[in-house]
Amino acid sequence: MVVALLLTVVVGACAKKQLPVARPMPPPAVTNAANVPPPAPPPPPSPVAEPVPVPPMPVEDTIGSKSLDDLNRDSPLRPLFFDLDSSDVSTEGQQVLQANAAVLRKYPAWQVTIEGHCDERGTAEYNLALGERRALAARTYLVSLGIPADKVKTVSYGKEFPFDAGQDDGAWSKNRRAHFVITAK
């Protein structure tokens, strides 16, 4: 118990220590090819000065104190979307993943599962594989941003759980997605 508390304090202190430091975003990948992982982000810069005592944060960390269900209901981890029959992570998708990576770095204890989903225009069977590709593509990019591989699981639900039951381009584009679920914190 005491150890856990100490750890929490230490982790909290580290997090606070790094907060003011402007962290460069990893560069967006130049190519869109799915199989070419983007270059690894540069290591975080070392602190330039001795840390000075930081006053307590003015607002409480509302995200960190939420229950898992509440977190997933209003998730700080955004989904990314894919083109038809494609598992390529788009430029926009890379930005989503960079933002998600920033959240995950802030909460290093989180375990997440990336669910790969498809729209109804592929077959049920093939979509299991395509959904898995999408989840893996998102995971690969996250790992390239420095997120530990063992924090991120993947699963494919094919076209079985559409986000939008509609049968038009708008619904389909929402259903071709990689959806993040926080499974432990």
């Binding site: 592929g122 077959t123 049920a124 069977e125 299991l128 893996l136 699963v155």
Partner: protein, 467 residues
């Protein structure tokens, strides 16, 4: 005691009908009971008969057949209902294979029922144009019901085939199914499918998936008779299950299950109530199919980093990998002899069907569609592969003759049509269609005729037909 029991598995398996032979003019005492929990010993061997009496119709046309209500010999309501159900179901079963021309039942309501050959009004049946008529009786017994069914050759005024069954009255349909299979066997040398079953996935129970905040309905494994009767849920794991596949003996169903979070292959031994996990949860495992001899399972797995086709012994031993390609390889199906696997691959762009020998050699592409998936290899005597092909906004079922290389289409843009699965005699397919609005299971003959809707409740997908 004449009452022996046959489990559903024995009904599904073909052993019962294959060992029976026509004996004339005696009725053969056979037995059948439904929903028994224990497998039964095989029925005693019957003496083969040298007597063969086949109905014939007019030249070039199938025999015309009538199936009036059975005569209930006891007045209790259960027997009365059974007498009606058996005749209705037998009419449907015989109609299904299109080997007989079934005369509509409402055209002979006025012809009196007969309890014996002396009472059969042959002139009336002849006037109706029937070549054959099936006359039967149902009688309550101490333990259940006794059903006698006899096919009469109307022109010859002779009994052509007769059976007596005793067993439970709980599901009288099984007596009709058994008689239909035996009639198709003895009269048309055809393996009927009246006692086969379908398995499929349904979300009809509207239960919420556990461990998610999204609104998701569970998808569980169901089974049903081939005609959609007696639909029952098999799994209760409150998650998503998909792509069920029967073992050849009809006692087990392998399927993709998300029970443990990720996708893995489970085998439910549906009578023993036990489960197996042959892929052992290594990586994500999908789309299991039993080999024709039931000893092995082909499936898709990403255990080596990318979706490939694997074959493993049912007990999880001796796993081998058939494909090695950075593309997606998915959805295997066995050739009837178990020597080849057809599967879907996008290694040349869009998903197409490929065939490979079981040792991984001899790979070849066999479809050249804009998108093809879910190959399913027909049983003998047909050498065909059915698959779903993108034909527009949705999919249609196509059938490729492997020897001829020719492809024919059997659905035509009514909704999206996917996931074909052959009946064990190769004459019918089950598939999923959205033509009725939601996703439902249908059956259709291999020429595209005789479309029947099997499910109506909830969404029902990925059917598979027992052997």
């Amino acid at each position: 005691m004449t009452h022996s029991t046959h489990s559903r598995a024995a009904d599904v398996a073909s052993g019962f009908s294959r060992t029976s032979r026509v004996l004339l003019p005696l009725l053969i005492a056979a037995s059948a009971a439904v929903w028994a929990q224990q497998p039964a010993p095989p029925p005693p061997a019957q003496q083969p008969s040298s007597v063969e009496l086949r109905l014939t119709g007019d030249p070039g046309t199938p025999p015309r057949m009538a199936v009036p209500d059975l005569l209930a010999l006891t007045p209790d309501r259960e027997t009365q209902e059974a007498a009606k159900i058996i005749s209705e179901v037998l009419w449907d079963d015989l109609n299904f294979e299109r080997e007989f021309a079934l005369i509509p039942r409402d055209t002979y309501k006025s012809i009196p029922a007969a309890g014996s050959i002396d009472a059969v009004p042959f002139d009336r049946w002849r006037e109706l144009g029937a070549d054959g008529v099936i006359i039967g009786t149902a009688q309550k017994t101490a333990t259940g019901i006794r059903v006698e069914l006899r096919l009469y050759n109307v022109r010859a005024r002779q009994s052509a085939y007769g059976r007596e069954y005793t067993g439970s009255a709980a599901n009288p349909r099984i007596y009709a199914h058994t008689m239909a299979d035996e009639l198709h066997d003895s009269q048309r040398s055809l393996r009927g499918v009246a006692r086969t079953k379908l398995t499929f996935i349904s979300d009809r129970n509207r239960e919420a998936v556990l461990a998610t905040v999204e609104k998701r309905d569970v998808k569980e494994v169901f089974i049903a008779d081939y005609d959609g009767a007696s639909q029952r849920r098999i799994t209760i794991n409150r998650t998503m299950n998909l792509t069920p596949s029967w073992s050849p003996d009809g006692r087990s169903i392998a399927y993709t299950s998300y029970r443990s979070g990720g996708a893995d292959i489970l085998i439910s031994n549906i009578f023993a109530g036990t489960m197996e996990s042959p892929a052992k949860g290594i990586g994500q495992n999908y789309l299991p199919v039993f080999s024709p001899d039931g000893t092995r399972i082909a499936f898709t797995s990403n255990r080596d980093g990318n979706n490939e086709i694997y074959v493993v012994n049912r007990d999880g031993s001796n796993i081998s990998r058939l494909t090695n390609n950075p593309a997606i390889d998915v959805t295997p199906t066995w050739s009837p002899t178990g020597t080849q696997i057809a599967f879907t691959s996008e290694r040349r762009g869009q998903p197409q069907i490929f065939v490979v020998n079981i040792d991984g050699t001899g790979l070849r592409q066999i479809t050249f569609e804009s998108y093809a998936d879910r190959p399913t290899w027909s049983p003998p005597p047909y050498n065909e592969i059915a698959f779903a092909a993108r034909t527009g906004p949705g999919f249609d079922i196509k059938i490729l003759g492997i020897a001829s290389g020719e492809t024919r289409q059997i659905t035509f843009g009514e909704g999206s049509n996917e996931s074909p699965a052959w009946a064990p005699n190769g004459r019918h397919l089950a598939f999923m269609s959205t033509r009725a609005g939601r996703s439902q299971v249908f059956t259709v003959d291999r020429d595209g005729r005789n479309l029947r809707q099997i499910t109506r409740d909830g969404n029902n997908t990925t059917p598979n037909w027992s052997q």
